[in-house]
């Protein structure tokens, strides 16, 4: 596929996925958990009653809490039956998760899509683009691993064992911004509301959730996809990225040093896509959005590949068309300049 076409196609795939995932109950049926539940590794919230799937992170936390945590405490043997109920129903999930890899982040996840829309709005407002400074990227990138290890895996387990308050059974979901974004999209404000009943931790979690949401929603105008940087779904995917057939492929080229447009185009501020080659260019932060491929001016240097097949390759021709419409940072080119560039 032509990289220009892919770059144009992606927003449509994202919009369609958002409609299905956020409003999908009218598409696939009310109890559509039956059809899609857990099969798509994206942030789509179970608290949203219109949607068609729930995010896999919720049951992951609950299972660690109830099955493993409580099981350990009751001194039951931790059987395969606890960790792995029903191998067959998880096949769909495994196939999606493993084959498409992190493309879910860049193509399907509604939270990513909404953030891209906000950033696009920032372009219209003429705002600048902020990046993670090169020196801090490692630290920012580590946050998502800490969140996966602590908030999704360890704390629910410890809470299930009775060593942390019950309110900590699903700490990630308690603060997940998708819980607010996808429910607000269905005109439901319940996830914004702060409870003043029961556990103080629930009140604190809801306050924190809103703070994080408000901060990220505005920051996304000038900083691409702030939530994606710390998302535990990204780290969960990243664990498997070198086993999955879909990946970012980079060939060595001696012109990369002087160019760097790919890194500028990358919404995750990944410098390695410019500076490294081979598997090392495909980092744990990559969402397989393919922008770097579209903004690479050299034939075949960057590609999205599925196993041995190079699905989308960078090319001079695609680069020329992509850059006529927008800058690597996503700023749209004014029509006049576009016409002039086309003429020259």
């Amino acid at each position: 596929m032509n990289a220009y076409f892919m770059n144009r196609l992606r927003p449509w795939v994202q919009a369609l996925s958002l409609v299905v995932l956020v409003y999908g109950s009218s598409v696939v049926g009310f109890y559509s958990a039956e059809k899609l539940s857990g099969a798509l590794p994206v942030l789509s919230c179970a608290y949203d009653q219109e949607n068609s799937a729930y995010c896999v992170l919720i049951p992951l936390q609950h299972q660690l809490h109830h099955r493993l945590g409580e099981g350990l405490v009751k001194l039951q043997a931790v059987t395969m039956g606890m960790v792995m109920p029903l191998v067959f129903t998880m096949l769909s999930f495994l196939v999606f998760f493993l084959v498409l890899n992190k493309a879910f982040c860049g193509w399907i996840c509604p939270l990513g899509t909404v953030q891209e829309w906000i950033y696009a709005a920032g372009r219209r407002l003429g705002l600048g683009t902020r990046r993670v400074p090169d020196g801090s990227r490692g630290r920012v990138s580590a946050v998502k691993w800490v969140i996966l290890a602590l908030f999704v895996l360890a704390v629910p387990l410890v809470s299930g064992m009775g060593l942390a308050p019950h309110a900590f059974r699903d700490p990630w979901c308690q603060v997940c911004p998708s819980r607010i974004v996808t429910t607000l999209l269905t005109a439901n404000g319940e996830q914004v509301a702060v409870p003043f009943k029961g556990d103080w931790a629930d009140t604190a979690f809801a306050a924190l959730r809103n703070l994080v949401f408000g901060f990220g929603a505005l920051f996304a105008l000038t900083f691409r996809q702030p939530f994606c940087r710390i998302c535990p779904m990204l780290s969960l995917h990243a664990l498997f990225r070198h086993f999955a057939p879909l990946r970012l492929a980079k060939r060595a080229s001696d012109r990369c040093d002087r160019c760097g447009l790919c890194a500028k185009a990358c919404p995750m501020d990944i410098r390695e896509v410019q500076t490294r080659v081979g598997a090392a260019a495909f980092t744990d932060d990559c969402t397989l959005c393919g922008r770097c491929v579209a903004f690479c001016p050299e034939d075949g240097t960057l590609a999205l590949a599925l196993g041995p097949f190079r699905l989308v390759e960078s090319s001079k021709a695609a680069f020329a068309r992509v850059t006529r419409a927008e800058s690597p940072e996503g700023d749209p080119k004014p029509a006049r300049r576009r016409a002039k560039e086309a003429a020259s």
């Binding site: 960790v83 600048g128 703070l211 408000g214």
Partner: protein
């Protein structure tokens, strides 16, 4: 080392895809125990672990309960002193029904029970034709949800599998609300759950972080000659969506977050950074 670890992590990541939620996501079932708030026939199902329930029938003389699994298979549970135990093989919603019939009346009580294990959605069992006068909801609440005060949900009255218009429908709640409704031409009746919970300080404490529930029953009645037909469905509902919580406070925190982010929007001198 890498491959076994990969497999272990893949299975761990995928396991939740297979299982439905443990107790927390489960919609609340009808409360167990003899109801003192209605004379209409009701059923209760108290969960015993993840896969079993103790089922009881009240306000009638039914001798057995027919349990329908989401795949349509049925089990007959004999009632001993009004109770029976039910241990289905699959999860999700199961429908329970008990018929009490004599010369003077035919009464069908029904309820649903949710087992937090994988199983088919209840679409088919709610749509399947039923004998006699029956009431079932058009939809049962999804995981993480419940019937809630202030919400309107649709119920369907059928007679021998056909939509039954014009039936007198009584709606009663354990909090004391009463309403009289009539089924529409297509047999449907819309029930709005009333905001009839006592003030928060007069409610029992919330156990395990779960909101209080109250039972309700929707019952259609119809007379043929000397025989009275009753079809009832009972379940539970919760206080309203914003009960005990503040939307304005949440919005306030969101705005606070935005205020904190606002300085970052200023364009730095020297262009994009």
């Amino acid at each position: 080392m890498r491959v076994p670890m990969f497999l272990a992590m893949a299975l761990l990541a995928a396991a939740p895809a297979a299982a439905q939620h443990a107790n927390h996501g489960a919609p609340p079932a009808a409360n167990a125990g003899e109801p003192d708030w209605t004379k209409l026939p009701t059923l209760s199902a108290a969960l015993r672990g993840r896969t079993g329930a103790q089922v009881s029938a009240f306000n009638g003389a039914a001798s057995e309960i027919i349990a329908t699994a989401p795949d349509g298979t049925t089990a007959t549970l004999a009632l001993t002193s009004g109770t029976a135990s039910y241990k289905p093989a699959t999860g999700n919603y199961h429908l329970l029904a008990a018929v009490d019939s004599c010369d003077a009346h035919v009464a069908t009580a029904a309820t649903a029970v949710y087992f937090p294990n994988p199983g088919r959605a209840p679409t088919d069992i709610l749509a399947a034709p039923r004998q006699g006068l029956t009431v079932v909801p058009e939809r049962l609440p999804r995981e993480h949800s419940a019937y809630r005060a202030g919400e309107t949900w649709r119920f369907l009255v059928t007679m021998d599998g056909q939509p039954f218009p014009g039936a007198k429908v009584r709606f009663e709640t354990a909090n004391g609300s009463r309403a009289e409704l009539v089924s529409e031409v297509d047999g449907t009746v819309d029930v709005t759950f009333p905001e009839d919970f006592p003030p928060r300080d007069q409610r029992p404490p919330e156990a395990h972080g779960r909101p209080v529930t109250a039972d309700f029953v929707v019952a259609a009645t119809f007379q043929t000659g000397t025989v009275q037909h009753i079809g009832a469905f009972n379940y539970s509902y919760r206080p309203g969506a914003y009960d005990g919580s503040s939307l304005a406070t949440g919005a306030g925190f969101a705005v606070l977050g935005m205020v904190a982010a606002a300085p970052l929007l200023r364009r730095r001198k020297g262009g994009a950074k």
